[in-house]
Symmetry: C2
Subunit: 295 residues, 2 copies
């Protein structure tokens, strides 16, 4: 297992972590100033600054991406809605390519309309089928341009609104169905916030590393960290800073590295009540400190 205690060489910052403090160009400068080598930006943050300036700024700093957030949201109540989702995912893939991302993270979607409080249907099997088909269609284009897709299983408390893929096992089942040759064009983004509770986590991480039928290729395309607070006061925006909650971060990173993952550890903290209220400088400095002490 890699030693993170001496530096933050493998730290990436998901830019949602300081989205309330700064626009993306400032975030990039502040990360560069601290020797942070990679970020994972969100599409709306990129759009607000403009993708060409962002690409130039990243290049000037020699800064890379650990992922691009996000594609997905495939289910829809009708065919035009599903086509619109596919078109949007194609644009997301193009953007990820322009920014030289290692993968596009997919938050796959769930019951259409549920995020706005008006679910248009309740059939989870249908939502899952539409997710399957949406990934299959997007994967075709992703392969053509060479942009890996990373399915992110979300916590089951997000199953209605954001993602009906809620376990690593389910995400890997999809990978095996849609990419049986394990080409590394389809894998998973493993965010410990969403999966830490799963009694099958160690087993499924090992499966992700082994690939199907004894392939060596790893399905692990991205690794996100924060912490689970006890108590948690909000279903979306009460994530903890690494070390402040109950997740066994080092144990899980050990499993992930055992499975072959050697990439960035991406800090992604949505925190309305705490970290979004603090100065961005303090948040980034704390991410660096906790990356060394707790991840």
């Amino acid at each position: 297992m890699r030693d993170f205690s001496q530096d933050h060489y493998w730290l990436s910052i998901n830019t949602a972590t300081v989205r309330k403090q700064w626009p993306l160009d400032r975030i990039i400068d502040e990360c560069a100033r601290r020797g942070i080598r990679a970020i994972s930006p969100w599409r709306d943050q990129v759009a607000a600054v403009g993708i060409d300036p962002v690409a130039k700024q990243l290049k000037a700093h020699g800064m890379g991406l650990s992922g691009y957030c996000r594609g997905g949201f495939f289910p829809a109540a009708d065919a035009p809605g599903r086509q619109a989702a596919l078109d949007d995912n194609r644009r997301a893939i193009d953007e990820a390519k322009m920014l030289n991302a290692p993968c596009l993270v997919l938050v796959v979607g769930a019951l259409p309309g549920a995020l706005a409080g008006k679910p248009q249907y309740k059939d989870m099997a249908r939502a899952r089928s539409e997710v399957h088909d949406g990934i299959a269609a997007s994967l075709e284009y992703a392969r053509a341009v060479g942009m890996p897709l990373a399915i992110e299983p979300l916590h089951p408390m997000q199953a209605a609104e954001r993602a009906c893929v809620n376990t690593l096992e389910h995400a890997l089942d999809l990978c095996d169905e849609l990419d049986p040759e394990c080409t590394r064009m389809l894998g998973v983004a493993l965010d410990i916030y969403h999966v830490w509770w799963d009694p099958k986590l160690e087993q499924q991480i090992a499966r992700a590393g082994a690939g199907p039928q004894g392939h060596q290729s790893s399905r692990l395309l991205a690794y996100h960290v924060c912490d689970w607070l006890a108590p948690t006061r909000d279903l979306l925006n009460d994530r903890g800073m690494m070390g402040d909650g109950v997740v066994e971060l080092k144990k899980i990173r050990g499993w992930v590295e055992q499975a072959g993952y050697q990439g960035f550890s991406e800090a992604e903290i949505f925190s309305e009540l705490d970290w979004w209220q603090r100065p961005g400088e303090e948040v980034l400095d704390t991410c660096i400190a906790r990356h060394k002490s707790s991840v």
Copy 2:
């Protein structure tokens, strides 16, 4: 599948549903007045009235129990703590017996201290091992007095504070380990609020019905309903009335009955922001109406 549309013969009321409105003796009277044949009371509600008066009142009304809430909370930071938990579970089993409950529901516990915001350790594997051992020890006594234990898998968002058994699959694994002969002294309480999101739900419900190695006995000892609201505003007390959320209640009851379950459908709604604010009479009348229309 049974027809629930004509009457509420198979409705049970979990007494937490109107706990903010009434003490248990009033709840029993109000349920009896409406022809509700069964309740599932909580230990603190029983203690507040006294177990002997409660037993007499139930008998006078010819009212039964669909379960008794609750035992569990096995993990502790030290041996005296674990022994205290076992002693308390023994008392809960005795009370369940005095009230002629068909099962004692187990909320198994998780990281000790986490419920009070001060987790005493973070090792989920240890918590799960202590849960395993705690159920094993309690099962011995439960067998001796003839009181079935029903493991309730809780939603993964409760994994730190209340139960580290978060899927039906995990609960059934424990049943198979601790009661391989499928004696009906150990099974599960299936609450749709906790498990509705699970892509393996249908498969695991079928497994619960079949029992291990082709046994016919069902592991399904209790069935709880409410609904999952989108959005959900609180991790504990924002459950929806049946029909107001996104859960496919009839589909899931179909699976449960296919697996052999023919008992009560127990309405259990914790709702700080809505149903606990309404008159108890309205809550019970709505449970009856929704039992017929939506369950």
